[in-house]
Every structure is written in C-alpha cells, then in structure tokens.
Amino acid sequence: MIDRFNLYRFASPATFYPLAGKLIPWFAAAGVLFGLVGLYIGMLVAPTDFQQGEGYRIIFIHVPTSWMSMFIYLVMAFWAAIGLAFNTRLSGMMAQALAPTGALMAFLSLWTGALWGKPMWGTWWVWDARLTSELILLFLYIGYMALVAAIDDPRRADKAGGILLLVGVVNIPIIYFSVKWWNTLHQGSSVNLTKSSMAEIMLWGMLLMALAFWMYAIAVALARVRTLMLERERNAEWVRKMLSEENA
C-alpha cells in the first residue's frame, strides 16, 4: 500500500517537478564521473586491439550510443503503453522528453559507425540489415517528434505518438538480432549478458562509458520533462504559485 501511494504521488507533476529538479545534478555528476573514468581507461590505459589497431577505440562511444538509442526507445514505448492503458498525464511527457536524446544517440551511433566503417570496411555506409535498421530507428524518433509536434492538443498528440512508438518497437529486436539473422558486414556482438569476447580492461572502459551515457540521458530527459510540465500545466495552481514565487 505504501508503494502504491508513493507511485501515485510521484505521478503527479506538482510532486515530480521539484523532485526532478533535485535529481538532475546527481545524475549529471554521476555521468561526468563515469565518463571521466571510462575515458581514462578506454583512451589512456587500454592497450591496442590486435586486429583493428587504435581504430577500435571508437567502440567506447559507438557501443554505448547504440545501446542507448535502443534502450531509450524501449523506455519511450513503455511510457507510451502506460499512457495508453492508464491515461496518466506524466507518461506522454516522459516519452516526449526522451525523444530528442534518443534521436541524438541514434545519430551518434550511425556517425561513429560510419567513421569506424571507413577504415575497417573501406566504406562509410552499406545498406545491410544492422545499419539500415538503426537508420530506421533514427527515422522513428524523428517521425515521433514530428507527429507529436504537429498535433495541437497534447493529450491527442500523446495518444497518436504512443501508437507510433508501440508499432515501431518491433524494430528494436530487428536491430539487435540483425547480425545473427542476416549476413552482414557488421561484426557480431562483443558482449552479451553471459559472455564477452573483449579483454577485461576494454570491457570495463566500455561499460563505464555506457553508464555515463545512461546517466547523461536521464539528466537531460529530466531537465526536458520539467519544461514540458511547466508548459502543459501552466494554468494549474502549483505552476502559478511557483511562478509568482519567483523560484521556478
């Protein structure tokens, strides 16, 4: 019962807004800390790769951004499902707040992938399953943002966007398993939950960088959701009170 009570309490924007404001610096600090240690290990301590030379160091951005691009989409789809099922106010705002960061992660995944592909494969881009499905993910993010921005009524925008997110979620397993299902230039996964083919020090660098990107994404999304809350709830008592108290 206590859990239920708390969940409902934090689902209210009036409670969540100040809470998010307090959490942002902590996530930002964690992101910077993980990032610095991850960069130190990945760029300064980790040895060279016997096949790819120093070019492999792109992995310390490429894999974390690729993971985040898929993970953020799953989180958005989760919020979309909650929003469509329970009609909660906060869900749609959460999905919207995450979208630009997810799109940037997909872009960075493709960008670093192109810069990695050129020296290793001899081409910036191929239309193979892994690369194409990741590009589709970027388009899904952009399509979602365009759709939500095009509908004036925020609740209707949330519903339409939510349906798009849920339909598009089928793309995530396609990205993840594409290297198994199809013949592709892209290498298979170096790491999964049960095994890793990477040297331990490289793995640590990559995991720390992944944590850094994760913390970064949370901090930015929380900051963005606050702006969305203010805008959407501008006529609510808690917003008017806060604005007149000059401490927003």
Binding site: A28, M43, L44, V45, A46, P47, T48, G53, E54, G55, R57, I58, I61, H62, T65, P100, T101, L104, F107, L108, W111, T112, L115, W116, K118, P119, Y216, A219, V220, A223, R224, R226, T227, L230, E231, R234, V239, R240, L243, S244, E246, A248
Partner: protein, 66 residues
Amino acid sequence: MIYWNSFADFLAMGGYGLYVWGSFGVTALVMVAEPILVARNQRASVARLKRQLRAEQRAESRSPAA
C-alpha cells in the same frame, strides 16, 4: 599504466586519428550542446510564463468584476 609513449602518439591514434577524434569530437559537441539548449528552453519557458501570469494578474486587478 598509461599506454601511450607520447602525446603525439595519442593524437595520431596509430593513423586512425581522423576517425577516432571525428567520433569523439562530434559526440562531445552533441553532449555539450544538448544540455545547453535544454537549459535555455527552460529559462525561456519560465520567463514567458511569468510574463503571461503577470499580464493576467494586472488585467484581473483592473477589471471591476474582480
């Protein structure tokens, strides 16, 4: 502990400098720009909503019905 022999080696990245630094540079740019844009949007929203609220309050205090 440090893998590199010199700073020049570090920059050269064994001949992959363009690709490695092109990746890290653009990522750094994005991760600096995004929080700045988000913070600027927040400030702009707060300022605009405050202006609107003040304008409403002035209008209310002037109208005889209030």
